[in-house]
Symmetry: C2
Subunit: 341 residues, 2 copies
Amino acid sequence: MSQLKNDLLLRTLRGEKTERTPVWMMRQAGRYLPDYMKLKEKYSFFERCQTPELATEITIQPVEQVGVDAAIIFSDILVVPQAMGLEVEMIEGKGPLLPHPIKNQKDLQRLCLPDVEASLGYVFDALRLTKKTLDGRVPLIGFAGAPWTLLCYMVQGKGSKTFDEAKAFCYTQPETAHRLLQMITDTTIAYLKGQAKAGADVVQIFDSWGGLLGPDDFEELSLRYIRQIVTALKDEVLTIIFAKGAWSSLEGMAATGAHGLGIDWCIRPQMARQLAGPNVTLQGNFDPAKLMSPIPVIEREVNAMMDAFKGTRHIANLGHGILPEVPVDHARAFVNAVKNF
Amino acid sequence: MSQLKNDLLLRTLRGEKTERTPVWMMRQAGRYLPDYMKLKEKYSFFERCQTPELATEITIQPVEQVGVDAAIIFSDILVVPQAMGLEVEMIEGKGPLLPHPIKNQKDLQRLCLPDVEASLGYVFDALRLTKKTLDGRVPLIGFAGAPWTLLCYMVQGKGSKTFDEAKAFCYTQPETAHRLLQMITDTTIAYLKGQAKAGADVVQIFDSWGGLLGPDDFEELSLRYIRQIVTALKDEVLTIIFAKGAWSSLEGMAATGAHGLGIDWCIRPQMARQLAGPNVTLQGNFDPAKLMSPIPVIEREVNAMMDAFKGTRHIANLGHGILPEVPVDHARAFVNAVKNF
């Protein structure tokens, strides 16, 4: 492996002082990029994920076209339920559909603890090819969904604002829920270890629906499993937890020993720092919808964000994924404003 | 008007000591009640809203069947955009649809500042008839949507997880956005004054999408208009603000002088009290999905919630609307657990 030419992200996650703040964007390899859209028209979602050459090309596009300080492998959190034996479809314009969701203990028999090399080896291949193609330009981030967020989809069967069915499943069948969460956790640990071995410098755990749970339920249904994952990985790879909306558990997330915590735009950076304590890097927290603003407004707002984080361990990012409608030069203005701060 | 036999809600909102905590549930007049479903099968949504006899019957059902300490008038926040001249449809199983949403300054010409007696008099009639039929059993709550939440629907044209179009509208056309917010505010003040005159003892302002905004945007796009409404009303009627998810602005909301603030289950009561200060009643914050749990679990969780609020001004409620799937005896168990605490 070549020496990294830009290791700002890694040094920031380790708590070292850096010459400037690193920047990347969640969902940066995505629909706002015209070159991504061309590939999207030609290949299905799973063809793009499962063909290492396509995944690599998509992963590297924002590094070359927007100038971010890290690449994040093109994939999806639902490859894990798929590897565990659940059918997953991606419906254009509607999102994921799992036609045979988990509803009770008997349904768990349809799931397996997969051999990740056999079932998710295509992700490892994509990481290896991306790592080689990046040739040390920037670090490579791998990722997985948090067990709670994956349970949401595996039980509800599709996206939802509130995932009430998934929550009701946990409240009425707690033993089955915990068995399922443990199966997902065990699979995820093997999967993320494989990602680290294949070249991921950092792994991020996405708990997109962590914010639907109250603080006690977040501890019980989400954080205790994330903690297992972080503990299993922290000597092998740098880890970031992004539990959207779960601000009230920042202290508990910091106590896992994760190197970074993502925060969204609904919490002030000062408050997040107060809750998380000094020994973790914070990542965020620009409102993705604000990238629709005129460029001078984006620049002003980025400066305000950077000011609010100033002097603490910080990776500049959005507070959620970039929107498909964002013009590429607005994304570039965001990245450049961070770099020029 | 008869003297109120149960004025726990009003005394709690005024900060007086009461013999026990009052309890009601958001969306308590709704689909979890079989008697409501019977009326829903026979009459369209707007027939139910606009026929005072139907609205009254629906409003009183949970008082008689579940034993709540307040009635909330059966209506919808979108009657205000409708009165302002926008077409609003309720699509069964899908939610609201506004087929001609506001996209630019020119579209504002399609809106008016309505004579609320003429266009929303049916709500006032329903309040008067409900008040009379309640005959002093419990207080009557009126309500309106917050200007920001109404703008979300008026611009996006339908429900959304993130209301990105509505946010982009505000970020790219701020002057038009503020003109629209002011028109909604002026209409809402007249509307809520009319509700108070027609017999509402309390009015609640629902900012269902306040939590999509960062703290500065919440101040700019939501709270400054809510403040106008509370200021205009506070000598005429008791006021509650419920801005779901906007926990980081609890201090600012308390400073409006509102009598009560709703909170959801994602914030601990102690933290909410610390942010809101001592001079306002807190309302909430049971996770609605938890009403799917077995009754002994509901009782245990209600006790935990009551303990967490103990000794402070508190109205027991859910942190969001009751779900249609909740069995009626679970709703009753919630209410009784509060009463028996």
